[in-house]
């Protein structure tokens, strides 16, 4: 060993930026980055506003069912979003309608995400016939016409919320499972998985501790996509008379019920539509931003 060695034990090298020294701080720093992204902030605020509306509309003294006396009144100071066919205030209904949307769509997405992630992880990790079998099942779920299946399921098991959530969740799960599987296949090829395998890691820990942390960003982004699709599917089911039932102020139902008023009373359609779009787009943008920051 030479004398220079002592000096050079710890050669100077670029460091990670100060303040991001541990994993925890890293996460905090990521949060800081998100806060500085305008699209993220606006989207988060919109989603937050809808959540608040969903929880709190009852305390705001809003009545989405009452006849205000004027039917099909255009938007005005009294009725910001106008009134509908039987004199109900559209603004009140849009606010209150957030409730059902924020139950079905997130719950279905949760089902889809959990199911899809588990299936994707197992299929991608185990490969072989398990993979083949799971993927065929997913293919089946993908190839059957979604609306028809939902129609059958809902008529078969009734129009209850859990049925709807489960059915939509299961039908959306391939979207997540496919991505998670692809990602898992990629990760499984990496040496850290082989290392864990060489250490005799248990399969369950392998999936949950080694693989899951590395695939969830993809799953998350896909999940935000699913929220949008779930909202959309419920709206479509309402169009076919299967999801929310009247007089629920559900947005999808409102859009489909009032669509014939599009020319005569556009406000009965446009505002619920805008509400759906604002929620879906915001959730997607949040997903995009989180992905960009966490898994660049």
């Amino acid at each position: 060993m030479t004398s220079a060695d002592a000096v050079l034990r710890e050669p100077r090298r670029p460091r990670a930026p100060a303040g991001a020294d541990s994993a925890r701080e890293e996460r905090r720093a990521a949060g800081g980055v998100l806060i500085r992204r305008p699209t993220f902030v606006v989207s988060a605020l919109i989603v937050l506003a809808w959540i608040l509306a969903a929880i709190g509309w009852r305390w705001l003294g809003i009545d989405p069912y009452a006849d205000t006396g004027a039917s099909l009144a255009a938007p005005s100071a009294d009725h910001w979003f106008g009134t509908d066919r039987i004199g109900r205030d559209v603004f009140a209904r849009v606010l209150a309608g957030s409730e059902s949307v924020l139950v079905v769509a997130p719950a279905a997405t949760l089902v889809a995400t959990v199911l899809g992630t588990v299936v994707g992880l197992v299929a991608g990790y185990r490969r072989g016939w398990i993979d083949a079998a799971l993927m065929r099942v997913l293919d089946v779920l993908i190839v059957v016409p979604v609306v028809v299946v939902l129609l059958v399921v809902v008529t078969a098991f009734g129009q209850s919320l859990p049925v709807l959530i489960l059915a939509i969740g299961v039908l959306l799960s391939p979207l997540i499972a496919r991505v998670v599987r692809a990602q898992t296949l990629m990760e499984t090829g990496k040496e850290y998985i082989e290392s864990a395998r060489l250490q005799g890691e248990r399969p369950s820990r392998m999936l949950l501790h080694e693989l899951l942390p590395n695939v969830w960003p993809q799953a998350l982004v896909q999940a935000t996509l699913c929220v949008g699709i779930a909202v959309f599917v419920t709206a479509t089911l309402s169009f076919l008379g299967l999801a929310a039932t009247p007089p629920s102020p559900d947005w999808g139902l409102a859009v489909s019920e009032n669509r014939a008023f599009l020319q005569g009373a556009w406000w009965t359609v446009a505002f619920p539509c805008a509400a759906i779009a604002s929620l879906v787009v915001s959730v997607n943008l949040i997903g995009d931003n989180v992905k960009e920051v966490l898994a660049p």
């Binding site: 190839v143 129609l151 399921v153 008529t155 959309f232 599009l262």
Partner: protein
């Protein structure tokens, strides 16, 4: 397997084909007589076995609602759905990939973000609203397309295409966002790859880069998504077909479900299933064609 699951599911749908056919005024015994005459009272299992045998031999039974052979009915509608699906697909692919490529080129710019938001908004507005707006504009305000697609079909090439264009466009618009997103991000990924950089410093022009390197590499994920779309498109979209009065399979299936027209429903779902499977298969083949790594992993 699919067929079995579906058959069972359809059988638990409450409601009675006989009752549906005869209406609320018919008596119990009439309904029972009708059911036995139409073989609609067999249990799910025996029903399934006999149906499967018939399906394989081309005897798909007779529609309980329309009283015509299922084979002709379903296949006729199916052909229409395929035509519509293919047209929608033909609209979707260049549109989505073009937008995606443009977005990738201007990545991070205001235009990029605005396009993303616009496409997502379009995708989140239900098809039946977009479709109606199209109809109002193109069929009522400037009447250049028929309100009901069937009125335009078969009556001259121009009207025929016109009748299909609106539903196809509506169908395509809903998915543009997803496909464009995929195209955008995979193009971006490709342009970040070291081999792209290596090609750039070899002095290739933008066009050459795109043709020779980006297209093939970025196509993979896009093809995967497109495959799903193709399956859905060809299988028929109940909402769009209903909205535009287009005589497609999706619309037929929804009606069949509501009326519990078992033979039509099962046959229709089978046909869509096969088609979507074929689309998935085509996707895999296309993927393998553009990406040799896929070939390797499939082969070994």
């Amino acid at each position: 397997m699919v067929s079995a699951a579906l058959f069972w599911l359809i059988h638990v749908v409450p409601g009675d084909p006989g009752r549906n056919a005869l209406g609320p005024y018919a008596t119990e015994s009439q309904v029972a007589a009708w059911n036995s005459a139409h073989g609609a009272e067999a249990g799910p299992l025996e029903g399934y076995v006999s149906w499967l045998a018939g399906f394989a031999t081309g005897d798909w039974g007779v529609s309980l609602v329309y009283d015509v052979p299922v084979l002709g009915l379903v296949m006729g509608r199916f052909v229409n759905s395929v035509a519509l699906g293919v047209l929608a697909f033909a609209l979707l692919v260049p549109l989505a990939i073009g937008i995606g490529a443009l977005q990738a080129r201007t990545e991070g710019s205001r235009g990029d973000r605005a396009t993303t938001v616009t496409l997502m908004t379009l995708a989140s507005v239900p098809e039946f609203v977009i479709g109606v707006v199209f109809l109002i504009v193109f069929a009522v305000v400037l009447p250049i397309a028929p309100v009901r697609a069937t009125d335009g079909l078969g009556s001259g090439v121009v009207l025929h295409v016109g009748a299909m264009l609106l539903p196809a466009l509506t169908l395509a618009l809903g998915t543009v966002s997803i496909v464009a997103r995929t195209a955008r991000s995979s193009i971006i990924d490709t342009t970040r790859a070291p081999f792209y950089r290596a090609a750039v410093v070899r002095g290739l022009s933008g066009g050459e880069l795109f043709r020779r390197h980006v297209a093939r590499n970025a196509l993979g994920p896009t093809i995967a998504v497109l495959g799903l779309c193709l399956g859905v498109f060809i299988g028929g979209s109940a909402v769009v077909e209903t909205l535009f009065g287009y005589p497609g399979l999706g619309e037929l299936l929804v009606t069949a479900t509501q009326r519990k027209d078992l033979p039509v429903l099962t046959a229709g779902v089978m046909v869509t299933g096969f088609v979507s499977l074929a689309a998935l298969l085509a996707t895999d083949l296309a993927l393998a064609a553009v990406d040799p790594r896929v070939r390797l992993s499939e082969g070994s």
